[in-house]
């Protein structure tokens, strides 16, 4: 009996020691996982692709992906700004098991599709004024519009005719920017002309200046003006090499810019933080109105010219 008790005790001690070995290995495995965590798969669906306009955004996203261990898939509709194609791409990526989604919607329909379908994966809709969780970092549309209108008001203190071109009438974020511009200018006695991609050329000569609420349309407009050798002041939104050149040669009188690199970084950071259940550090990226005179000011340089590291 005594011997049996002794055997049980020995067995108990051995079991306890064996378990403690396993426990210590388990603790190490938890604290310092030997294998790298599963990479997050995040899909980014652009509404169009323009290296100059979206290049910095992409670099920022890639930097965040590197910091958070994510793998990015960049997708663009074959037809620029095609809402239908974007909707298909959203479905396709969700079905393919993407962990997160960043979308720059071509229209409100795409945004509506995402919000109504209540995606179970985290997503960020850029160029929109959604809630904090889904809007990523795109400056408030009303603020952008207001800054543009203020710049125009300063340049035309006695009022003038403004042409507001909306290249994406169905994009709610962009429409809001123009609404804000229109409101401000109207209050200050400006005449407002509105146009879309089909009729802006007809109204161009009637305008004293043009308001362009997004980057690609500004690039196209500069190219058009150069080709037509027209000198109509432009007020643009967003960073691109062409925007900088436009500012420098005076084609663009003022531009509301923010750092595309930072915008891209924050979009991925927001999704990765939600997937990893961490709290991202609070950031308040700067949004500035730049004119030719102050584009080489230190603070403007930092936002306007990518340092490239």
């Amino acid at each position: 009996m005594k011997r049996k008790l002794g055997n049980f005790m020995q067995l108990g001690i051995l079991t306890a020691l064996g378990l403690s070995v396993l426990l210590s290995i388990f603790i190490q495995e938890i604290s310092w996982p030997s294998t790298s965590w599963e990479r997050l798969e995040i899909s980014i669906i652009f509404r169009e692709w323009n290296t100059s306009a979206w290049g910095e955004l992409r670099f920022g996203m890639e930097k965040a992906a590197s910091d958070y261990g994510a793998e990015l898939r960049f997708l663009t509709p074959q037809e620029s700004n095609s809402a239908a194609e974007q909707q298909k791409l959203v479905e396709q990526e969700v079905n393919n098991g993407a962990d997160g989604l960043v979308i720059i919607p071509a229209s409100g329909d795409v945004q509506q599709q995402i919000t109504e379908n209540k995606l179970t994966i985290p997503y960020v809709i850029m160029e929109s004024d959604g809630d904090e969780k889904t809007s990523g970092f795109t400056p408030d549309s009303e603020t952008i519009g207001q800054l543009l209108a203020q710049a125009a008001t300063e340049d035309f203190p006695n009022g003038a005719t403004a042409l507001l071109i909306n290249p994406l009438p169905e994009n709610t974020g962009i429409q809001k920017r123009l609404d804000s511009v229109q409101k401000y200018l109207s209050e200050n006695g400006f005449s407002i002309l509105t146009a879309d991609t089909d009729n802006w050329a007809r109204l161009l000569l009637d305008a004293d200046f043009v308001i362009l609420p997004e980057t690609t349309s500004a690039i196209q407009m500069m190219a058009f003006l150069e080709e037509q050798q027209l000198d109509i002041p432009l007020y643009a939104v967003g960073y691109s090499q062409e925007t900088v050149n436009g500012l420098e040669d005076g084609t663009i009188r003022a531009a509301v810019v923010w750092n595309g690199y930072g915008e891209g970084y924050l979009a991925i950071q927001q999704i990765a933080s939600r997937l990893l259940k961490t709290t991202p550090p609070e950031s308040e990226p700067a949004v500035i109105l730049v004119r030719k005179e102050d584009m080489y000011e230190p603070e403007s340089q930092k936002i306007l010219f990518p340092i490239g590291n």
Binding site: Q28, E284, A286, I307, N309
Partner: protein, 603 residues
């Protein structure tokens, strides 16, 4: 209480502890303590070594970057010296600007440079490569690098990164770090003040820094004397207004290793000043990550320790079992042997010493058994001899009396009775001999009694009658030899001697299950209870009685010696009523009788 006594009190009562537990506990305790000390020392040494290694790595990395940076900057400074002393000093700007020489030097350092330019005191461009004119509206004179060069003429001045906008680089807007210095320009013998500006490509400088790979998730950055960032791995994010917290708020002024707080998190900072520029290289490694490595070593050590302890405990337990198990089983076998168990088996196992001990004990037990068997045999032989002696006691007394009676019968010419007596005596002796057997058939024993009774009836002149009978189921049974005759003898001498002619003795054999009973009953004088009680009481002195000399106590002893204490004689008697002596025997058939004869012991 002395120290030794206290220690003893604390220790387990080792005298009561088994060898297995003793070996297990002591071996395990010694190895565990040893391993704890060893692993503890190793962990401490490894932790310190890791910490030192990390610091060394960090410092070496910073030193390396510093050297590269210093070398790079010195090259640029040497270039500025070359430009100044070999080109500008030898040039007469009133005749022509040394653009070719500047272009040549630019081409030689193309990878590192964006542009080389020389400005007059009023800010106008004197010479430049590979650019030739200033942008409209720019004013070099108002720029910081220009002001510093003119203010501190003996120094080289390095700027923080900025986008160079003096010249038109087409669609490019290069980030540069500028070296500016005061120069004197020769205008036809007239010395004019000026500024030499060398724009270094920021991306080249960044390339030097990007190659550094600090351990423990660390990073490093460079600031100027005022804390303005020259290089940071997240520079773009910082410029975008993100990751502002990746910087040390109060950079330690002295070079070396410091502990700093970055965004409330403790970091190990290594600070190194880049020679001439006063720039500070700051490497930051989160202390948590450094501690992580140490913690990993510590946990690895703990796991290793636990595993070794587990292994040692396992080995110790098996070793102690290997040593003590055979001893324990040997002890158990010896105990069983001591308790009287006969078929105790000894297993020769374990170490050679224990095997030898087991073998010796087994040999000793075997010898003991043989000795015991010999003793038992001797005892049995002794008992047999005793019985034979007891049986042989019948002969002289009875023979004398019988022969005396035969003589007497012959003298009185009762030849027929004498013949009957001699015949009975002959048969009596024949049965008595029974070829030396101890166990004889019951019918022979009854026949023996009959012959004896015949002799005694003649001797006592027919004063009593003897009736001998047996139940049919007792026919083939066996009994101890010569047990009825002495009882008959007693019945005659003590019961019939006083009778006239109506004495009756009955001998009746009967069976009850596994018991054989032979009742010898007389109607003689009987005996009082006191006498009855003393008959078989061995504590009472043996009373010599008339007759063959073999008392009933002898019969009783013989039966019990032969068959066990549950058998023997029983007496029932009443004074003047007679006496019944009941002989109680086991049932013995022919085989049992033969086995008894062969073994000489109990059937």
């Amino acid at each position: 209480m002395s120290f030794r006594n206290r220690i003893r009190k604390l220790l387990p009562p080792y005298r009561k502890t088994g060898i297995r537990v003793m070996i297990s506990i002591s071996f395990t305790a010694v190895t565990v303590i040893g391993m704890f000390l060893l692993c503890g020392m190793l962990i401490l040494r490894f932790s310190n070594a890791t910490r030192i290694l990390q610091q060394d790595t960090s410092q070496r990395m910073i030193e390396q970057i510093n050297q590269q940076m210093d070398s790079y900057l010195r090259n640029i400074m040497q270039l500025s010296d070359t430009i100044y002393y070999r080109v500008l000093k030898d040039s007469d700007f009133s005749e022509s600007a040394p653009v070719d020489a500047l272009e040549l030097l630019y081409e030689e350092n193309r990878g590192n440079l964006v542009s080389i330019s020389v400005f007059e005191e009023n800010g106008s461009l004197a010479a430049a490569a590979p650019v030739y004119s200033l942008k409209d509206g720019v004013s070099p004179k108002q720029q910081q690098w220009f002001i510093q060069a003119m203010d501190q003429i003996e120094n080289h001045h390095f700027s923080t990164p900025y986008v160079q906008n003096l010249f038109d680089y087409g669609k490019e807007h290069p980030w540069v770090i500028s070296l500016s210095r005061y120069v004197e320009l020769n205008y036809d013998g007239e010395t004019r003040r000026g500024v030499l500006l060398i724009d270094m490509s920021f991306s080249e400088l960044g390339q030097i820094c990007r190659n550094a790979d600090l351990p423990g998730g660390g990073y490093f950055y460079i600031t100027d004397r005022e804390g303005e960032i020259i290089y940071h791995p997240d520079q773009q994010l910082i410029y975008a207004g993100i990751s502002q917290n990746n910087l040390v708020e109060d950079i330690p002024e002295t070079d070396g290793i410091h502990q700093v707080q970055v965004d409330g998190v403790p970091y190990q900072a290594v600070v190194k000043t880049v020679g001439y520029t006063g720039w500070k290289l700051i490497s930051l490694i989160p202390l948590k990550n450094l501690a992580n490595d140490v913690d990993q070593y510590r946990w690895f050590g703990i796991t290793l320790l636990l595993f070794i302890v587990f292994l040692l405990a396992f080995v110790n337990m098996h070793l102690s079992e290997y040593i003590s198990g055979p001893l324990s089983r040997l002890n158990q076998a010896v105990n069983e042997l001591g308790a009287g168990k006969e078929d105790v088996k000894f297993r020769e196992e374990g170490c050679i010493e224990v095997r030898q001990l087991t073998h010796s004990i087994e040999a000793m037990v075997s010898t003991l058994r043989h000795l015991m068997d010999d003793i038992i045999q001797q005892e049995q032989n002794k008992r047999r001899l005793e019985m034979e002696v007891l049986q042989s006691q019948i002969n002289p007394h009875f023979l004398y009396n019988t022969l005396d009676s035969v003589i007497w019968l012959t003298e009185i010419e009762r030849y027929q009775d004498a013949t009957r007596m001699v015949s009975a005596l002959g048969k009596l002796f024949r049965i008595s001999l029974s070829r030396g057997k101890i166990i004889i058939p019951l019918k022979d024993e009854l026949e023996h009694a009959r012959h004896y009774s015949t002799i005694q009836t003649i001797r006592y002149k027919e004063r009593f009658e003897t009736r001998i009978s047996a139940e049919p189921d007792t026919e083939n049974l066996y009994t101890l030899k010569l047990i009825i005759q002495p009882i008959l003898e007693n019945a005659i001498y003590h019961g019939m001697a006083v009778m006239d002619e109506d004495g009756l003795i009955t001998v009746h054999a009967w069976r009850d299950e596994n018991n054989l009973y032979i009742d010898v009953e007389d109607n003689g004088a009987g005996m009082p209870k006191e006498t009855l009680d003393q008959l078989l009481d061995e504590s009472k002195p043996f009373r010599k009685s008339k007759g063959s000399g073999i008392g009933v106590r002898n019969i009783h002893q013989r039966i019990q010696l032969a068959f066990g204490p549950e058998y023997g004689l029983e007496f029932f008697s009443e004074p003047d009523e007679g006496t019944l002596v009941r002989i109680h025997l086991p049932i013995l058939d022919e085989q049992a009788a033969a086995r008894y004869e062969k073994e000489g012991g109990q059937p």
